[in-house]
Structure formats: structure tokens, C-alpha cells
């Protein structure tokens, strides 16, 4: 039982293909409300208004990359403690540790399975608030 309900997810991802499949997987399978941002800049602009419970953040993006975006988001008072999960292809254990140092609660490997993405997110959430 999680003490907090997960319902609003902000996904920051530049690639349209991944936006489409992940957005659908989270909405249709998980029943979450999802806001997709195509860049770190866009995310910083609309984060406060959307007020996500959780942020899914792509590591490699043109312009502001994932870690830079995270830093900027943390400067927004409302986003100071919002849990963030990084999405990346590079998931060596030491890299996971590095992303966690940056403030991510976990890392989801790309490519992911659309059928189980919501479950993965839910279980990370449950562990974080468990």
C-alpha cells in the first residue's frame, strides 16, 4: 500500500516515437494523467502548472539534457521534492548510482515494454513511498 496515490506523471522526452508509446502505455494501462514535454525548457515552463506527482525524464536530449533539466526543475519550489525517474539506455550499475546521486529515485531502461511500463513505474513509486 502506498501512502500516496500516483496519478499525475510528467514525461520529458524529445523523441516522438517514445512519447507516443510511453504516453499511451501510461494512460491506457496505468490509468495515469500524463503530460508530455518535448524538451527540458518546456518542462521547466509547465511543471508548476501541471503539478506532477512523478517525473519521467529522458537523460539524453538536445539542448538541456536530463541532468540539467533536473537541476532547473529543482529550482522551482513546487518541484523541489518531486520524485524523478530517469529513462535511459545506459544502465550500468554505476550509472544508476550516479543518477541517484543526482536525485533520481530510480532508472528505467530504454527500450521498455509498453505492457509493463506502468507496472514498473507503480512498483518504483510503491518502493519509494513504501
Amino acid at each position: 500500500m502506498s501512502s500516496r496515490q500516483l496519478s499525475r506523471i510528467m514525461m520529458i522526452e524529445d523523441e516522438a516515437d517514445i512519447q507516443a508509446v510511453a504516453g499511451m502505455a501510461l494512460e491506457a494501462v496505468g490509468g495515469f494523467t500524463v503530460q508530455v514535454c518535448s524538451s527540458g525548457r518546456e518542462a521547466v515552463q509547465c511543471a508548476a502548472a501541471f503539478a506532477p506527482d512523478l517525473i519521467l525524464l529522458d537523460v539524453m536530449m538536445p539542448g538541456m539534457d536530463g541532468p540539467t533539466t533536473l537541476k532547473s526543475l529543482r529550482e522551482i519550489p513546487a518541484m523541489a521534492a518531486t520524485p524523478v525517474i530517469f529513462m535511459t539506455a545506459k544502465v550500468q550499475p554505476h550509472e544508476v548510482a550516479r543518477y541517484q546521486e543526482l536525485g533520481a529515485i530510480d532508472v528505467i531502461a530504454k527500450p521498455f515494454d509498453p505492457m509493463t511500463l506502468s507496472a514498473t513505474v507503480t512498483s518504483i513509486w510503491a518502493q519509494h513511498y513504501g
Binding site: M1, S2, Q5, L6, S7, E15, D17, I18, A20, V21, A22, M24, A25, A28, V29, G30, G31, F32, M60, P62, A89, V91, A109, K110, P111, F112, D113, P114, M115, T116, S118, A119, T120, T122, S123, A126, Q127, G130
Partner: protein, 586 residues
Amino acid sequence: MADAANFAEQLNLLRQSYRAALPAKLIEIEKTWQGLQTAWNAEALDSLHRQVHNLSGSGAAYGFTRVSEAARPLEILIQSIGEAQSAATAPQQEKFAVLFATLQQAASEPDSVSPDSAPARNAATPDNGVAQANLTKLEVDGAGVQTPAAQMPAVPANDNQTSNALIFLISDDTVLAHELELQVSYFSYRVHTFTQLSDLEGAASETPPAAILVDMLTTGDEPIDMERVAQLKQGILATVPLVFISSHEDISHRLQAVRAGGDAYFTKPLDTGELIDKLDSLTASHTPEPYHILIVEDDSTLARYYTLNLQAAGMIASAITDPLQVLHALSEFRPDLILMDVYMPACNGLELSTVIRQQEDFVSIPIVFLSAETDLSKQMAAMSRGGDDFLTKPIKPAHLVASVASRAHRSRVLRSLMVRDSLTGLFNHTATKEQLDIALARSRRNEAQVTFAMIDIDKFKSVNDTHGHAVGDRVIKSLSRLLQQRLRKTDIVGRYGGEEFAAVLVDTDGPAALSVLEEIRAHFAQIRHQGEAEPFSVTFSCGVATSPPWLEANELADAADKALYEAKRTGRNRIVTSEPLLEVTS
């Protein structure tokens, strides 16, 4: 269910468009690369990196695992070229050409849907990940119906699949042929008779029959060419059940039949009842009713997630997020198993299971707890309160499905011993009444009609007295089979007493029920049962009552019983509809 089907469909559409866009993406990558060969450009390399990176990150999610796998080393190569900040060396160019060719190849190879398609990595299983995982898992205990998610809906359409199955008979015994054609037709089989093996062969290669009956002594005194039959059985008829009919009881003829690949052997005079029993079991395409699973979980996201996973494995899952609704859900949904969260706000799972167990009707339904609790002593405490199993969250979909399916399977087997009649496999008296209650409750809610029919075999005592109990039992079985075959899968057929049957026809008004039952009555009267000395036929009487106007099960059953009595009194072999005091117009 609709959600799952919808999701699978949407996913499929997305995959199709991804697949369509792939070639253009590869061309773009090739162009960028070639541009880089003529003039070094950090920005272009960056863009190349991103294009390849995106393929590696998206491929498997769209069912192109190999694209992800092939793009990854290409991405690493591009990174190393970028770090050197100079044009690609000759070995790098060569490597690029090889890796790019692999990528092109991979783009034409979407993941197969076979269960052995290798998972990409980590949790990323391409395509029907969930369903496939369940499939492989479930083969172990062989329980349940599994349908890959892409093939929703999960409920198999199995209504009357075997109706009017085609049977080929080879015989020149016209009396036998005629008799068989007539007798088996009452049980939804069609017989096509051939006198020449070659004709049968031709017809079978066009439409394979459900079974083949071979009269071993055919064309006057010339025996049938058993070698030819054996060849056919090894060739085009390999999957078709083969039944031999012979006038010889001896072992050598039986042996011949076995050697030719026979699945059964009958001697003349033919007992059609036994033959049909055999045909039923040989041609049965067994599609078990999917398991009904009730999920009690206050977290609606998790509830949805479990529902979806169980549905993807072919089960019918229904979730309630308010634990206080559980009793209502139990009597409406009639689950084979309850999957329950332990910690819920309004009342916890332990209390709830005690409440459920205190009701006699629900004592035997397995309750499986789901909880993040890993403390063994707390788990044990949960079991002592009426739980049957304890699953720890988070749980992998495959594990969830496997534990639920095997428990539901066992529960159903146990339940069937309790509710089924051993001779006919029909619902017993108590279970029939219970089913009638359920059907009435549903019909009230849907404002539909339910018709209840009581059927009693006429003068059954004299059948037993004249032909013995074994023959009597066969008569009972033949009526049971006829009712099951002629009524819909959604109707309920029970053996109410010795020679008494009951049928609950859901969503059926009086006139519709009457026409179906009348057809069954006429057919049953024409069936010739094999007696001690000679064949005989039997009839039944039937009383019918429809709800509304009767609302309670007892009233409805009483009304049908009175009508049955009336049918007996006025001469038997007939159906009488109960006349309510109030005239109802339909």
C-alpha cells in the same frame, strides 16, 4: 476488458506506423553519414548520434527488438567518432558500413509473436510481453485459457462450436447408414456416407471431417482395404479420429483396427448411445470456461493493473476498490478466486476474509492475499483468518497469473465435485437451484426474462424394469446430452432428481423457450435406445414457467412443477406452460 482490447489495438496501430516510418529513418541516417564523409561537421554528427540513439531507445518498445540491439553498437561507434572530434578513420567507416547493414536487416525483422522471442533486456519484453510470459509459465500446470493480449477479447467464443460436426461413414450397409444418419443427427452430427474409399479420400481432402466411421465389412462380402485405411490415417487423415464398426468380436479384427490407427472399435448391432459418447469425446474441442477472479484492492491503479494482467491471460477479472462492496460482488460475479489486498482503509483484508468465510456459500472460494508484508508470522496470521495463499507485492505479472490460475483450477475441480451430478456431469439439485437464484437476480437487474423448465422422463420405471439400470442410465445420459447440445451455453441444465431434469433458460421468454423445448421433445422421442432385446424409444413431459410474473425461485419452480404435473396428467410426451393468474403480454 474493453480497455485492454483498446490498448492492444492502439499499440498495434502505433507499431504499424513505426514500422512504416522506419525505412525513411534509415535513409536519413545514411544521408547524414554520407554528408559527414565529405565534410566534417560536429553538429551533423550530433544529429546522427541522436537519430541512432532514438532507434536504440524505441525499437523494442515497438516490437523491433533487433533494431534496438543493432542500433546500440552503432551509437557507441558514433560516440567514439565524436569524442575524437575528427573525420572517421577507414576502420571506423568500415565498421559503420557493417553495423548499418545489420541495422537495415533488423528493420525488416519485427519480433515474432512466438513465446521464445528473446526479451530485449531488463524488463523490456517486446510485443505481447505480459501475455507471452504467462503462456510459457502456464504450460507448467496446464490450467486456464490463455490468449495473447493482441487477440482480445479474452473470452473464447465457444458457443456451439462443435454443432453439426461432419462425420464420414464408409459402408455399403444401407440400413446401417440410414439408421446412423438419423440417430446421430439428434445429437448435432451430420453423416455423409460413402461406399468407396477413394470417394471418401477425395472428399476428406477438401473438407476434413470431425471423425470417420469405417464399416470393416463392406461391398458385399469383400472386406475393406485396411492397408489403404492405415495409409490414409498416416497421411491426410492423421488428425481425424477413426472409428471402426465390425460384426466381429474377436481379437484379430480388433487388432487389425488398432494397427490401421483406429481410435475406437464398435461391434454390430451398434449402440448409438455409446457411439455418440465416443464421438463426443473424440471430437470435443475442449474450451474450458475462463476463470472468474474478483480483485479487492483499494488502489485503483493497482486494481487496474492486476485486472489487465489476468485478462491478458484469458481470465475474467473484476475489481472492486471499495472492500465493503465485496459481498454484493461475490453473489453477482461468482468468482473462482478472490485476490485481496491486506491493507485497505475501510476494513482490512483479514477482517474481510473472516466475514466472507462466515457465509456458508463462500466457504470454499480461495482467497489469495496480496501485500507488501514480508513478515512470515504476519503472513501466517493472515492465513489463519481464512486466506489460502499469500503473494508479496510487487509481483511479476507471470507469477501473479500462474499462482492465480493454478489455485482457481483446483478450486474449480473441487467445486465441480460438489455441484455436479456424477452420472451426467450436469449441475445437481442444489447447484441448479443456486444457479436459478443467480439467473433471477441478474434478470431483475437487466429487466430480462428467465424461463424455468422441469423435465421428467415418461414411465422411466418401466425402462429400468424392462431393460435394467445400465440401460436406464444410458437413457438419462442421452437426454442430458441432448439438453446440453440443444440449449445455449449460457443456459443452465441440471439433473434435478432421478429421471428429472431442470433447465434455466436465461433471457428467454415463454414462447421462445417453448419452441426450443418442443424441438428437443420431438427429437428425444425419435431417439432409439438400445435395449436388452430390441431398440425402444422414450418420451418426456415438461412443465414451463417464466419470470416475471414469478419473481422468487421457489414460486417459479413450483409453477413449473405444477405445469409438469399437468403435462403428465393430460397424457405425457408434451410441454405445458404454466398459466399465471395475471395475463402477461410480452
